[in-house]
């Protein structure tokens, strides 16, 4: 992987990475990828892909409403709020 690709991934993850960090990150990521390449040498033919390390399945819950309105409590955590809404910097999409 090249520095530019790491830069793009950092942007997508909204990580503020400086130039020096970028170099060491690129190096780290490449080491990890090399390790994965090494693992890819193992013949996994006929083995089902693993989506989760636990050998159990998802439990399902019944369709019931048990939660009550705790808006005031949650809004207290927000830096800005008004009329029951969380306020964030303007993000309007141009239509």
């Amino acid at each position: 992987m090249k520095v530019d690709e790491i830069k793009k991934i950092a942007f997508l993850a909204r990580l503020d990475v400086n130039d020096r960090e970028l170099l060491s990150l690129t190096n780290d990521v490449n080491n990890i990828l090399n390790f994965i390449n090494k693992m890819n040498e193992v013949d996994t033919h006929g083995i089902a892909p693993l989506a989760h390390p636990l050998e159990i399945n998802q439990r399902l819950r019944n369709d019931e409403v048990t939660e009550t309105n705790q808006r005031e409590l949650f809004l207290k955590n927000a830096p800005a709020q008004e009329a029951g809404l969380f306020l964030v910097p303007k993000v309007i999409e141009e239509v």
Partner: protein
Amino acid sequence: MTWEAVIGLEVHAQLKTKSKIFSESATQYGAEPNTQANAIDLGLPGVLPVLNKEVVKMAVKFGLAVNANINLKSIFARKNYFYPDLPKGYQITQFELPIVGKGILAVADPEGNVKKIGITRAHLEEDAGKSLHEDFHGMTGIDLNRAGTPLLEIVSEPDLRTAKEAVLYLKALHALVRYLDICDGNMQEGSFRCDANVSVHKIGEPFGTRVEIKNLNSFRFIERAIDYEIQRQIEEIEHGNKIVQETRLYNANTHKTKSMRSKEEANDYRYFPEPDLLPLVIDKAFIETIAEKLPELPEAKRQRFISQYGLSAYDAGNLISSQSLADYFEQTVKLSATDPKITANWIMGELSAALNKHDLTIEHSPVTTTMLAGLLKRIHDHTISGKIAKSVFEAMWAGEGDADTIISKQGLKQVTDSSALEKIVAEIIANSPEQLADYLAGKERLFSYFVGQTMKATKGQANPQQVNEILKQQLKRVTH
């Protein structure tokens, strides 16, 4: 060579559950902002999603209805992007292994021609919240009530060729999810939303570059937006320009689509398996139980209406558009025991017009099936003419009672006593010497004058056929 459009649709159907897909918050529409969003919906640290069983049942129900391959094992994935109404910074969805695989939806046009449209897949996911861009001191307001509402995203194959066909497919899908009772289909409230992928190419050549159109929330807008986009792409290419893969928004005021450039950079969702949810595994018995309870589906009902009641493809197609309308029709036919075609005409004519005028759905019709059947019986046994029946219908709509009550109260019973009618006709002829002379001199169209006078004298209660016969007889007598 002529241009051809290729359209594929992605529909987001909001599943009709009481609670959210991963939390026990309510999903009711229109609640005060943020009163139905709990710690899970807000994505607070340390919370874990727990999957709603009803959501899984509904997805399976849909899969069965489109004859799809239902995956006994499916997995959830994270779709990563940043937007303020997506609190976790990712949406939990299904990517590689969706619960519903390939299926087919039969779509009939008004003439009854059926085209089978492929369903690529249908997967479960959570909805995001809503951003309100009204002016909050230059800031955006976030309401997270909708965050975590269960959605079934239904993706079609690129099998559609015109905007009209796309709308037919959407209407068939819309009817289907409501028959299955898994989605209320309310497009204004966003319960049934659609994105369209559109490309154009010359027949015989490979498919063109596709453009995604978002913000389509009515059947009318969808048709207009697709038509506009097809035309735009053809013109671009004919002017030597290339179509770029992009997302465009439809503007309902200008009827145009416009590029949404801000999305270009962000279209890299870096999907990976959701570590907070285990694989979803269902067994055949689970599917069987749901299959047993499947209702008669719209397409099967449409075909049955044609064969059982002798309806035209057009009438059958209209009547099956909602389960309640179809039920209303069948109930009325059963109660009136008269011609199903006439019943269909009344339901789609007078009744639909009145419902539209008052912005009511069939469930809230003041004229019940028993009342309409009562009216049809009186038309059938010639107690009233079709014309009088319309005013009886209006009176029923206005709450003046059932057909028999209105007929007797307003004295609307058809005059079929021939001696009474003969007397009236004789009087009219005697009182119209000028018209009679002209008629006898060869102005045959004056016949309708005499019919009109008779209907007027009987307040429309005479049987028109009988009036014609009596008039013919009496005028003949005068001639000789």
